[in-house]
Symmetry: C2
Subunit: 470 residues, 2 copies
């Protein structure tokens, strides 16, 4: 049976693009090290038509199809045991950049940083920015509704997508590739597929928004007296600048300690280690904000410096460094972007991706840290946060490598999050790793409606089965 | 059978809130005058629980339920012949305004202008703004994903909604009332119900975003040499201000003529009538943009005046008036906001609501106006456009009041729109009036997927049946 399928796929895609046995090796490990795939084959179709034909063949044989792109996901969403792993890597064309309309037409296998470069060459920017941008692809970013550091200003991937092309479970191609900012012609199908992690269909292409390229950045690392004081800074900067804060990232003292242990070459920002360290960046897109004054400073840097100085005088900020060059700016960002690497270098690790209302971040961290010693006296934590979005990546290194123990700790995180009106899944998605949280924390009516939609669009349950829903 | 249902509803809601016979009168006419409803009864439930119980009763009796709110829709979306008209008008509480989190928690029957007032009292703004704001309610705005004049800066209703409560076809309540900016816990159900015009469930409450209240406006009416020149103005202002253009509205000479005929009291902006008249407004949310300089002018007004002066020198702008007071600003807006009134005062009228890529607006208008005399030599047109969104409300007054004739004209509009990558439904929705367009212009796979979802969530086809889909 599966030999028939493989023969048909080989005829369809060519032998070089149906990988079996040892040829699959590069595709099996998960970036996090928590999962290993064992696909029947890894497929590398050339285009949407081949993907549609592949999905039809798989459906005829009752074999699951799991789309993969850059494989930088953190929740095991691209794993399969025995299904077909369908890589969109060959759909890697930037079909069009239309500067006047400020859109790009891209295929699912385009690497984020390639799109960043292409947009920049047109004097524009694609403002989806995270550590894995050198490998992550558009298809995965859309399928997981990826977030990152610039959500505060530009929204998640969902907000950046105008049009979409999807291969459905029965091989039909759903063409929603419009470049319109307004379109009320029926249900919002696009947003149903974005963030569905390939469980409703395979995203093959998209029309995405481009934005004016910031002409200059004002970037600083600072230590605040407390998290609420840091939020005061965010609100003051947003108000003073008219919403030009592009990133507002929180790194606690535990993060700085672990950074120094893992990467002593990088260095901490301050001689004294502080509890609340913030990386803040404003982006000037208007000439009047980006043109240096007679003193050589851009107006946004002056605005940032003045706000920081005022708050230091008030005692709300303890220390601050404003980047004076692009290399200083890059160094500040490197410190933040090593988070995933230093988190997953240690094992066992329990990683979480929670979001809370902004004013509930500090109460959450306090409540959980007060509770943790009772659950595991040896546990240590490491967090970073997109504080401007209320999104915390709290990692726990537990005292023992026991699955039930880890689950008790995760359940405690969820409980505190739920109590404060938050979510257990902010930007990484659900995949396999958040499925238990999904089952026990998600509103049961919402779960039932999701299952109804899944059943309607994928009645054979062959599209990335077992992810998000059971 | 229907007497049993009415008796049960009367017991549930109280006799004062089950209107039959002549008591229904106020609810029967459609705002456009094109449709008249004939409901079995008009219901006025008090809360979500009563709506859920009502929907359950209706489902048990197999009777359709059509939600209505402010009844200012333009596509006949709230009509029913023999079904239950369920008004959400009594769910009219603003439950909470949370200034720190910049959200409001509102019920479906809250009138837009009430929310505007409440937000303003908290020094914030709810930036959904259109002519019918004094009657239109949140529930209808969400169900139609309403647009309006500020979409350019703040997005459509969809973009302003963080959380939602929906009564499903079987009476279950779907509680998605979160206030989070990031939440990837499964499928994006919220956006499926927004814009679904009540065909998948009844929206009963929402968490909506509030934004910083503009502290000052820079507003002008101007005549451009051509539509492309007007777009040059828009792009220059966006670039110079960093995206602070809140509205960019187009009124052609035909609009000015009709305005003068219908409302001679209002007056035209210029002594000479020009082909391309634009109302532009920038909003200053940052103190540095809103604080008057030594000359008393706010920086954004200076920016606007300088840009206009430069373009007049280049010959791209022919005449311009910058509002020097709030009353001058209001007068400029009144001229634009009379559009619906003067369009629907004349009969027969064919109203359309199309959107195009920004650079395709002028080619569309040219192509259609070249084609129209061949279809109807007596036809006249009247358009206004949210030009910054590519959204044109092109109305045609045909030479004869014949349905087949009107449909031929609509089909010609659709053809030109489709050829240029646009949509036949931008911000008003589909309802009844755009159903023929939906059937012949919407991608057939998209239509089939919508029908699959409708079937899954409303298998009895009782939720606003016959709207959007057949």
């Amino acid at each position: 049976m599966s030999q028939d399928l493989l023969a048909a796929l080989t005829e369809l895609l060519g032998p070089a693009h149906v990988l079996t046995g040892a040829d699959r090796a590069a595709y099996l490990p998960d970036w996090t090290g928590h999962y290993t795939a064992d696909p029947l084959a890894v497929l590398r179709p050339a285009d949407t038509a081949q993907i549609a034909a592949t999905v039809k063949l798989a459906a005829a044989h009752g074999v699951p199809v799991v789309p993969v792109s850059g494989r930088t996901g953190l929740v095991g969403g691209a794993m399969t045991q025995g299904g077909l792993m369908l890589s969109v890597e060959r759909l890697n064309r930037i079909r069009d950049i239309r500067p006047a309309a400020r859109v790009a037409v891209v295929e699912a296998g385009v690497i984020l940083s390639s799109l960043h470069d292409a947009a920049e060459a047109a004097d524009l920017s694609f403002p989806l920015w995270f550590g894995a941008r050198g490998s992550a692809m558009i298809g995965g970013a859309l399928s997981t509704n990826a977030g990152g550091s610039n959500v505060l200003r530009y929204g998640s991937t969902r907000a950046l997508c105008l049009g979409l092309e999807v291969v459905l479970a029965d091989g039909r191609v759903l063409d929603l590739m419009s470049a319109l900012h307004k379109d009320n012609s029926g249900y919002d199908l696009k947003d149903l597929f974005i963030g569905a992690e390939g469980t409703l269909g395979i995203i093959t292409a998209a029309v995405v928004k481009l934005v004016p390229r910031p002409r200059a950045y004002a970037t600083a690392t600072l230590a605040a007296r407390s998290l609420p004081d840091a939020l005061t800074l965010l609100n003051r900067l947003q108000s003073a600048s008219g919403g030009m804060v592009e990133a507002f990232e929180f790194m606690p003292d535990t993060y700085m300690r672990r950074l120094t242990e893992a990467r002593p070459d990088v260095g901490e920002p301050f001689a004294t280690r502080h509890a609340v360290n913030i990386l803040v960046e404003l982006g000037a897109t208007a000439p009047r904000d980006a043109t240096p004054g007679p003193d050589g400073a851009i107006p946004l840097t002056t605005l940032l410096e003045d706000t920081l100085a005022q708050m230091m005088e008030e005692g709300l900020i303890l220390e601050a460094q404003v980047a004076q060059s692009e290399s200083q700016r890059r160094a500040m960002w490197q410190r933040r972007e090593l988070a995933a690497e230093i988190t997953f270098a240690r094992s066992p690790v329990i990683d979480t991706d929670v979001a809370l209302p902004l004013d509930a971040v500090a109460p959450f961290l306090e409540a959980f840290h007060a509770r943790l010693p009772g659950l595991d006296p040896q546990a240590e934590t490491l967090s970073v946060a997109h504080l401007g979005d209320g999104n915390i990546h709290l990692s726990i290194f537990p005292g023992s490598d026991d699955a039930a123990h880890a689950d008790r700790i995760v359940a405690a995180v969820e409980e505190e999050v739920q109590r404060l009106g938050g979510t257990f899944s902010a930007e990484h998605g659900v995949g396999l790793s958040k499925k238990p949280s999904m089952a026990r924390r998600k509103n049961p009516v919402a779960l039932a409606v999701m299952a109804q939609i899944k059943q309607a669009l994928d009645p054979q349950n062959l599209m990335n089965p077992g992810k998000i829903l059971s």
